[in-house]
């Protein structure tokens, strides 16, 4: 482990592929821009494209050749760079987590990608190290080294190193997850993005001119094809979700939660329990109807380049009433209560007014300019009102000793559990209209990766808002209920 080592040669292929991926759009642009005139410019652009591809290929190999890693003096030491040689030494204590990923290429050769994460304080993507392809044995050796070195300091606090199973996704859950995921939208937008790339290549305009007459006579056929297209997109989305979340499992090992997932591309994320900032349950509308939700943890690790490090899916799909029994025992600091103080009745009007504030001008404008068709805008208003009432119903709060829980709705219903010593700042707000009704808004921020997260609930009883404020204030507690 002490002499410098190279990554597996397959890393050069990975580097090249990554380079090509980055170059794809510029190269395509060069090819398409000049390609139509034929003759000399065509040859030039072809040569240019070839040179670029060749260059990426060579630099892929060179960067593999120059990249070495070793473990020395309780540090992971990496040296790399083609023209500018760089050295990066990461002390073991600074390592937050070591994540393993097996992409398709790595799996073919029995390798893993190792991502060494440091705390997100510096914020740039340079803060971490990625060993893009090393053997599994090597990876676990590194893990052991780091774990051993870390445990040497805290041996007496954590003696046992048993592995506790927390969650394994069942086939049924996987199916429900895939059926209710928003994968369809992603596929469709990707398709559109792809089509717009080939804008120059396919003569849309010419095609459509002929199509227009034909289309008017064949509306049903078109509707049919659109339907087929959407179904295919939905199926692809479904399969992608399935592949991503298959074999999803959570275990607890010493002070860490280890989350592994994926069928084709395997991924393993380690989250130290100490770094958990908040627990969040999201219930999208469809899943809420059948009583399911998703559990996330906000973690202080991760850098800006690696959002995943901060916002980790803990349970991708689970019956909401079972959440407490599944993760409760492993997160004893948190009381995963379902007992929330709702908003007062008069808050409902405020939610409705706030929604009408936006929809009524739209509806009036639509009625003025579109005449009778403007009535369609009323649907928008109805939807807005419906959403406002749903938001009102979702709102709630509770305090359980050292924990503040907030519940609110954006589109999903969100429940956030935050411990007092993890809340970075607390805010209470009163607008002019709220003050007249003795209502107020409360918001709490927790740290999450490179930025913040947290929750805000509008239109609580003002006395409740003050109660929360007093609960958080360290000084006002001392004063007691004097004022």
């Amino acid at each position: 482990m002490f002499e410098p080592k190279r990554l597996h040669p397959i890393a050069s292929v990975i580097n090249t592929l990554k380079g090509i991926k980055n170059m794809l759009i510029p190269v395509a642009a060069i090819l398409f821009s000049a390609g139509r005139d034929g003759g000399l410019s065509m040859i030039f652009s072809l040569i240019a494209a070839l040179v670029i591809v060749l260059f990426t290929f060579v630099s892929g190999i060179l960067s593999w050749y120059r990249y070495t890693y070793r473990i020395e003096n309780d540090e992971v030491r990496i040296e790399y760079g083609i023209f500018v040689r760089k050295k990066r030494y990461i002390p073991f204590e600074r390592i937050q987590s070591i994540d393993l990923t097996e992409g398709i290429l790595q799996r073919l050769f029995g390798l893993v990608k190792v991502k060494i994460e440091t705390a997100g304080s510096s914020g740039d993507d340079e803060a971490e190290a990625v060993l893009s392809a090393i053997s599994k044995g090597e990876a676990s050796l590194i893990q052991d080294y780091v774990a051993a070195a870390k445990n040497a300091d805290t041996r007496d606090t954590q003696a046992e190193s048993e592995i506790e199973q927390i969650f394994n996704i069942s086939t049924r859950q996987l199916v429900i997850l895939s059926l209710t995921s928003g994968g369809t939208g992603v596929v469709i937008s990707a398709l559109f993005a792809l089509l717009s790339q080939f804008d120059d290549l396919i003569p849309f305009k010419r095609l459509f001119r002929g199509l227009k007459d034909w289309a008017i006579h064949n509306l049903i056929t078109i509707a049919f094809f659109v339907f087929i297209g959407l179904s295919i997109a939905w199926m692809i989305g479904l399969i992608i979700t399935m592949l991503k979340y298959a074999n999803f499992a959570v275990v607890k090992k010493e002070g860490d939660l280890i989350i592994s997932q994926g069928l084709l591309e395997k991924k393993q994320i380690t989250v130290p329990l100490k770094r958990i900032q908040a627990i969040r349950i999201n219930e999208p509308i469809i899943r809420q109807l059948i009583g399911y939700g998703t559990v996330y943890i906000e973690s202080a690790g991760g850098s800006s380049a690696n959002e995943e490090g901060a916002n980790v899916t803990l349970l991708p799909i689970v019956k909401v009433d079972q959440i407490r029994s599944i993760i409760g025992p492993y997160l004893p600091e948190y009381a995963l209560t379902t007992d929330f103080t709702p908003l007062p009745k008069r808050a409902k009007r405020r939610y409705l007014f706030r929604s009408w504030f936006f929809t009524i001008p739209v509806v009036t404008a639509a009625l003025i300019f579109l005449k009778i068709w403007g009535l369609l805008a009323l649907i928008l208003m109805a939807l807005g009102s419906f959403w406002a009432i749903a938001k009102f119903k979702a709102g709630g709060w509770s305090i359980h000793q050292r924990q503040l829980s907030l519940r609110y709705r954006t589109i999903d219903r969100v429940t956030v559990f935050m411990l007092k010593n993890k809340i970075q700042s607390l805010e209470m707000q009163e607008s002019y209209f709220q003050r007249r009704q003795d209502l107020g808004t409360v918001g709490a921020s927790v740290s999450s990766g490179f930025g913040g997260a947290g929750g805000t609930v509008s239109d609580l009883e003002i006395s409740d808002v003050q109660k929360i404020y007093q609960w958080y204030s360290r000084e006002k507690q001392k004063q007691g209920s004097l004022d």
């Binding site: 700042s425 003050q466 958080y472 360290r474």
Partner: protein, 159 residues
């Protein structure tokens, strides 16, 4: 009821805010003027120009005369041993609590207008949020920065 935070920001903040209100008004008027000239050239409807002028007058009055004094009246802060409390907002009154143990670092900043009036703003960073106390006396801001960073260092809890 909760008691309000004790300290106000420097009265000179009013002048500074009025000056920046004037700068803002100048920018707004130049945009409005361009729009009106364009409308005139392309013979757009006149009522748009009239609305623009009315809006211009209203915003000028708000930004230079009304908002600065409302804002100043509302702005309060208090630095206690264990926490920092802020109050601000004209229409929406916001009160914020920042525990000292959560403070990561403190900055003072001073733009050209603030410098002319010997003022500075103090910015307090936590791991998730950023809070500004605008327009304090230079020396007061400096002292506050030292004071907060000293208090923040005293207690060490893990994040």
């Amino acid at each position: 009821m909760l008691t309000e935070p004790q300290n106000r920001i420097s009265p000179k903040a009013l002048t500074v805010w009025r000056i920046s209100g004037v700068i803002r008004a100048v920018i707004e008027w130049s945009i409005a003027a361009t729009a009106i000239v364009l409308l005139h050239i392309f013979q757009g409807p006149q009522w748009i120009s009239i609305i623009l002028i009315i809006l211009g007058v209203i915003f000028t009055i708000l930004h230079i005369l009304i908002f600065p004094s409302l804002r100043w009246k509302r702005w309060r802060y208090e630095v206690r041993e264990e926490e920092l409390e802020l109050q601000e907002g004209i229409f929406i009154r916001t009160r914020t609590l920042v525990p000292m143990v959560r403070v990561q670092h403190v900055d003072t900043v001073q733009g050209p207008i603030l410098r002319k009036y010997k003022l500075a703003s103090v910015i307090v960073h936590t791991a998730a949020t950023m809070h500004t106390i605008p327009a304090l006396d230079e020396t007061e801001a400096e002292e506050l920065r030292h004071y907060i960073s000293k208090l923040a260092r005293v207690v060490e809890e893990d994040v």
